[in-house]
Each structure stands twice: as structure tokens, then as C-alpha cells.
């Protein structure tokens, strides 16, 4: 079972100094997975301008620090998200947009959409709202930046520590080998 508190994983000493630079220049992987992607252009452009904080879109996971999951994730897109996440380089963070990443949102009872993103990849920050508006996104970024500064945003370390647990969850969804409902349940 995952340890709830990750106190001992927090950054310390010199890492904290570097965190200032990491906080000030986060490159996000513009991986528009769900309906939240539409919220990002306004945050980037004139009105909210997230570039002020050094956050900008980047094309490849290799160069990105920030993975935005902007909405519901079906099983197939989860597979790609996991591969992209693993291709990103440490330190890396994940922000889950909207309720779909928290508890499945309006697709809570869908047979293909995952309910809790944090079961599969470590989520450093989730922004509520069925698609949060740019203000919410900006505050989200602020809180993430503070967490990084304090050294608490250590999802990537958690992922490394409890990799088997994450792997088990991922396999349960992606690599199933026998049907979910046993024949008895089907009868009713």
C-alpha cells in the first residue's frame, strides 16, 4: 500500500536551491489528452500569460518537466500517458486537471475511463472543476511552484519508490487476462 506521507522523500539542502530555478522555468508537455486542453491557450496568451512564470509549451517529453493531464483518460490514452511519463526526465511533475482525474468525474461509471489518475502515475497537484478556468490553472501553478520551492512536490521520487504498486495498478487495467465479471454475476 502506498505510504500516505512522503515526508522523508522531501528535497533537502542544495536541491532546495536548485528548486528555485526549477520552479521559475517549468516546461510543460502540451499533451492535450482531454477537454481541458482548451483552457491552456488562454493561460498562455495575452490575458493570463503563464510565460511570466517561465512556464512554456515543449514538444517532446525528453525536454519537459511538467505533464498536464487535462481531463478524462481512456485506457488506450492511459497507455500512452504512462510511456510519455516514463520518457520524461527527473525532476518531473504531474498536474491533473478537473474532476475526471480525481474521481472519474462525469465518466465515473464508464467502462473505459479510469477513475483515479493517482493510482497509475503520481499526481503532484490536482485542480478541481469540470475544466478549471485559467484563473484556477494559474493558482494551481502557483501552488505547485510553492510546493516545489518547499521541496514537497516529489511525485517522481514516490513513483520510483513504489514502482511495483503503480505497476500492479497499471497492469490491472492494461494487461487484464480474464474477464472482470464472473459467469455468476452475469446471470442476474
Amino acid at each position: 500500500m502506498i505510504q500516505t506521507s512522503t515526508k522523508d522523500l522531501h528535497d533537502s539542502g542544495f536541491e532546495k536551491v536548485l528548486n528555485f530555478f526549477r520552479k521559475r522555468s517549468m516546461w510543460m508537455l502540451h499533451y492535450c489528452t482531454g477537454c481541458g486542453a482548451m483552457e491552456l491557450p488562454p493561460t498562455m496568451t495575452t490575458r493570463w500569460d503563464m510565460e511570466r512564470f517561465g512556464i512554456g509549451p515543449m514538444a517532446t517529453p525528453r525536454q519537459a518537466d511538467l505533464l498536464l493531464i487535462t481531463g478524462y483518460l481512456s485506457i488506450k490514452s492511459l497507455k500512452r500517458v504512462i510511456r510519455t511519463y516514463e520518457q520524461m526526465q527527473d525532476p518531473k511533475w504531474v498536474i491533473g486537471f478537473g474532476s475526471c482525474t480525481i474521481n472519474g468525474g462525469i465518466y465515473y461509471d464508464s467502462y473505459t475511463v479510469i477513475n483515479r489518475l493517482s493510482d497509475y502515475i503520481p499526481v503532484d497537484l490536482t485542480i478541481e472543476g469540470c475544466m478549471p478556468r485559467p484563473e484556477a490553472i494559474m493558482t494551481g501553478f502557483q501552488t505547485l511552484m510553492d510546493a516545489i520551492q518547499k521541496g514537497e512536490a516529489v511525485g517522481y521520487k514516490k513513483y520510483k519508490e513504489n514502482y511495483e504498486w503503480y505497476k500492479k495498478n497499471q497492469d490491472s487495467v492494461l494487461g487484464r487476462t480474464e474477464p472482470v465479471f464472473t459467469s455468476s454475476e452475469v446471470k442476474k
Partner: protein
């Protein structure tokens, strides 16, 4: 060719189970299972060139699948909905691939989500779902809530808490 003539045309050829006119541009006709193919062929000759969609409806309580073909004619500017009913336990129907090639994909989709076998369609392979081993999900007796809780973890209690 207005809606009346269409209904008469099909009626005196194959005998209509039921027909219904929704508005001046849309009408639906229900035909028996064995002459659905002939009806479709007839309508294709009469300028209903386009098969907009082929889908199915699961009448669980009547233990019946209703296979729906929606045709559209540019000349008559009419949308004809041809329906037929097949029994639910061993759902089979003739494939209309020979009339419209596009039907192959629609039939593959319906087969995956309803389990209806279309005779003569070679590619009834899994389509959208990721290694799906359970019963076709669109059937009414498929309990999505339990499935989601079992696979993706419970959320209902948390929300109530």
C-alpha cells in the same frame, strides 16, 4: 416521391409492420427480418444513395434487438429510418456490405458493442475496446457501475462520505 409513396412502395412489396412520420423530412418504417435486405436494395435503387448510420437498440424487456438503418436521399430530401427486430438470445442478421461498403465498419462496431453477428461480414474483429474479454458493453444487462468500480476502484462511497 413524397413520404406516402415511399410507405406504399415498401408496403405493397414487403408488408410493413409499422410506419411513422416524424416530420416532413423524416419517416421510419419497420420491416420483418427476412425481407430487410430486399427493402434496403429497393430503396437504394430509388435514390436513397446514402446509408447515414447502421446501429442497434437493445429492448431488454422485450428480449429483442432492433437493428436500425438510416438512409438519406438527396433528390427526395428525405431521411428514411428502416428498422427490423431480431431475437436477443442468438442475434444474427444478413450483412449489407454488398449494398454499401461503409456498412462493414458500422457492422463491426455494432458487433463489438451489441454482439450481433452480421453474416457475410469478414472483419468482425475487436475494434475500439482494449483487450475486452467481457460481454458486449452496450447491452442493457451490462452493469457499467459495478464494472467501473471493480476495474478502476470504487468512487461512489467516497463521494457520499
Amino acid at each position: 416521391m413524397n413520404q406516402k409513396e415511399i410507405i406504399e412502395l415498401i408496403d405493397n412489396k414487403f408488408g410493413i409492420v409499422k410506419s411513422n412520420i416524424y416530420d416532413e423530412y423524416q419517416l421510419s418504417v419497420v420491416v420483418k427480418k427476412e425481407n430487410i435486405f430486399a427493402a434496403l436494395a429497393l430503396m437504394q435503387l430509388n435514390d436513397f444513395k446514402e446509408l447515414s448510420i447502421l446501429t442497434a437498440v437493445d429492448w431488454f424487456d422485450r428480449n429483442v434487438f432492433e437493428v436500425v438503418y438510416i438512409l438519406f436521399s438527396y433528390t427526395h430530401n428525405q431521411q428514411l429510418i428502416l428498422k427490423t427486430e431480431i431475437e436477443r438470445d442468438n442475434p444474427e442478421i444478413v450483412s449489407v456490405m454488398k449494398l454499401w461498403e461503409v456498412a462493414e465498419t458500422y457492422e463491426r462496431d455494432v458487433h463489438e458493442f451489441f454482439g450481433i453477428k452480421f453474416l457475410g461480414n469478414p472483419s468482425l474483429k475487436p475494434f475500439f475496446l482494449h483487450n475486452w474479454l467481457d460481454m458486449p458493453p452496450m447491452r442493457k444487462d451490462f452493469k457499467t457501475q459495478q464494472y467501473s468500480d471493480k476495474v478502476f476502484g470504487k468512487t461512489k462511497e467516497e463521494r457520499e462520505k
